[in-house]
Amino acid sequence: MPVSNSEIIKNRAVVADDWTVLRLSEGDTADSVTIPAGKVILPLAVWQARRTELQGRTPLGVWLNSDAQADAIKDDLEQFEVIGINFPIFTDGRGYSIAFNLRTRYGYAGELRAIGDVLRDQLFYMQRVGFNAFAVRADKNIHDALKGLTDFSEKYQASWDEKTPLFRRVQRQPVTQD
């Protein structure tokens, strides 16, 4: 069943979204599911099953579930304009490592979109590991969620957004508190 949200957060702004995320319903198989026309983000299984049919189709997106590994698509990155990573539940943290590896290890530079159970209080961490787009869960206020991106102005450790840890970036000195 295709699901489409009309708005997402992208590059720190709420924008209209014309992509369709294809999710397999019960009874659908990767081999037989009808792929809608237009901008579609396919499940990894569909991409893998129908690669020959789909190669060269642009624009195209793919999404990985949290149990997948970044290396599953490491050789196909140039095929996709959007890569989605699904959070089946917001407490499933595997997507953070997938994102980090896609960005840093495999050099993916396009849109990296968090989909699924995407909530305000996780967005700060998500952007740090490389997500630049967020399909916030439909029942939540997306403008409110936007505030989650700016919870902190400093961070100790390096990740994808900040290539150097604090100790290499600034001169740190003791302060006395007033």
Partner: protein, 564 residues
């Protein structure tokens, strides 16, 4: 002791603001309880049996006097006048109101404290040796590395939603006082033959339902690579740790399932890309942090103080206290003092607000204003002059903090159990109290000598029962509270997991069970043999036989449970 700079202040301040808004959104129902639960846990706020409990981080167990005073203030203003020190070197308050929790965090921030990552499936507070920096057997001071790890793990974006909680301990002495073998990652500081500083890296230790001793996956990791190597471990665990079953989600299960060698191989493969990257530690950073852990202004003193020696010879009670509660110091004329939080009649690890204030004062007058928390739930004043030990002892005694029982039978490690914890199968504090009452006699305890008695109210093992020489575990049998006993567990360099001796006992039988175990020991011990050594030499069987040989009569009820 580490002091915040502007960045630490800023991060903690922003956390308070973030959390305050999360509480606001919860109270207005913008956040569902399921969504909020995870957020509050990462701020140390648990829903307990009676009320919310707040667990405050004490990084590697180090506190300043103003921080201890802040605890006293929190105990008075927001709780019922006391706090509870834990086996993770933290402090917990048991009677907290959700609405007030952001204010508590704001107050903590003023003394450079927080409750960040004291719970939840993230990297928890880093623990270490309470004698770090002063121990006579220290190889390398672990505190700067512990602080570097604290900063690195704080809000690590990739590892805030791990399969399960993640605990790191670091030790720098010959003797392991940080229970590194039962941590997700245990780091033992060492020098290689060339004299370089690094770590022996152990992974996959832990207690809980499946107690496992960690496996060494790297004999020597140069200190510069600490962060990148740990990052690699965490990344492998984050992606491959089980998430389908909460009981199998700890890293120990993954390491066991694939084997330590294969786990190490995967870590090395993950590490190869980030090794030598920007996460590599620099000498400058180590120096920046290490400058906070330099020695205080010690005086030049003789190795032994004559006044002190005379007092010790004359006053047996003082000598007993010295023998058990005072530890060797690497600086001549100084000693490290352990304040016992195990006075009979008081829940192990509990301290009242007045006592907290008192400890803060004491530390300022006798120990450069610093206090440490031990994982045995006691406190340490690490830098006391020998010549002042007598005066300190008298003051501490007047406040009930000088029971000469460190390492003895009544120095019991005990989780909050059924009195507070919603996961408990049984009470543990009343068991500790009943045992303490029965064996209150200090001469008897000194005769028994070194022994570790640890109690947990359920299999989660917050009271470290698996590594107690005697371990007591609360179990549920048909809705009633029972206690399973194990012996032969040990912490330290020869960490071992205790063996269960047989069917469980009722609460009122427990003091008698302990008595019987001690009887066997006293009969079987060779001269100077500790309880644990006797158990290791003769095995569990003689203990088991004697404990179960005849029924335990319930003629002497003990503790609250006795009347039910």
């Amino acid at each position: 002791m580490y002091r915040y700079d502007q960045y630490d202040h800023q991060i903690v301040k922003e956390r308070v603001a973030q959390y305050r808004d999360q509480v606001r959104r919860r109270l207005s129902n913008e956040l569902a309880e399921d969504e909020f639960r995870i957020l509050r846990l990462q701020n140390g706020l648990y829903m307990q049996r009676h009320a919310y409990m707040l667990r405050i981080a004490v990084p590697y167990g180090l506190l300043s006097a103003p921080q201890v005073r802040k605890f006293a203030h929190i105990a008075r203003k927001y709780d019922r006048g006391y706090g509870h020190f834990t086996t993770r070197q933290n402090i917990q308050f048991n009677w907290i109101k959700l609405e007030e929790s952001p204010d508590i965090l704001a107050e903590l921030a003023t003394v450079e404290m927080h409750a960040i990552q004291t719970s939840g499936n993230c990297i928890r507070n880093i623990t270490s040796d309470e004698l770090a920096g002063v121990a006579a057997d220290e190889v390398i001071d672990p505190r700067p590395y512990a602080e570097i790890l604290r900063e690195w793990s704080t809000f690590h974006p990739e590892f805030a939603y791990l399969p399960r909680k993640f605990k790191i301990a670091i030790n720098g002495s010959e003797e392991d006082r940080a229970a590194t073998a039962v941590h997700d990652i245990g780091l033992a500081m060492a020098r290689n033959p060339a004299g370089d500083i690094g770590f022996r890296v152990m992974v996959g230790g832990g207690m809980g339902r499946t107690p496992i001793i960690g496996s060494v996956i790297r004999e020597f990791l140069p200190w510069q690579h600490a962060l990148t190597y740990l990052e690699a471990i965490l990344r492998v665990y984050n992606q491959h740790g089980r998430r389908d079953n909460i009981y199998k989600a700890r890293i120990k299960i993954l390491v066991k399932a694939i084997g330590a060698e294969e786990f190490a191989r995967q870590v090395e493969a993950e590490w190869i890309d980030i090794k030598d990257g920007p996460g590599t530690l620099t000498v400058e950073e180590l120096q920046r942090v290490a400058q906070y852990f330099t020695a205080p202004a010690y005086e030049t003193l003789p190795a032994t103080d004559t006044g002190f020696e005379t007092r010790k010879a004359e006053d047996k009670a003082f000598a007993n206290w010295i023998k058990r509660n005072v530890k060797a110091h690497k600086v001549a004329g100084y000693a490290a003092v352990i304040l016992s939080l195990k006075k009979t009649g008081v829940p192990p690890g509990d301290l009242t607000a007045d006592q907290l204030d008192f400890v803060a004062d004491l530390s300022e007058r006798y120990s450069f204003g610093e206090v440490r928390v031990t994982h045995e739930q006691n406190l340490v004043l690490a830098d006391v002059k020998q010549s002042e030990l007598f005066a300190l002892w008298q003051e501490a005694k007047a406040q009930g903090l000088a029971t000469p029982n460190i390492g003895l039978l009544t120095d019991i490690i005990c989780c909050p159990g059924g009195d507070f914890c919603s996961l408990a199968n049984a009470k543990s504090i009343p068991i500790a109290q009943a045992i303490a009452e029965k064996f209150d006699n200090i001469d008897f305890q000194h005769d028994i000598g070194d022994i570790e008695l640890n109690i947990s109210g359920c299999i989660n093992a917050c009271g470290h029962h698996h590594i107690g020489n005697i371990g007591i575990l609360g179990v549920d049998k048909d809705g009633a509270e029972w206690y399973q006993v194990s012996i032969g567990g040990a912490q330290g360099n020869n960490t071992s997991i205790g063996k269960i001796i047989g069917p469980s006992f009722s609460a009122h039988q427990m003091p008698a069970v302990i008595e019987r175990l001690l009887d066997v020991y006293v009969k079987q011990r060779t001269e100077d043999e500790r309880f644990i050594d006797t158990v290791q030499r003769i095995g569990v069987a003689p203990f088991k036989e004697f404990v179960y040989a005849t029924p335990i009569l319930l003629d002497q009820p003990h503790g609250e449970d006795a009347c039910v």
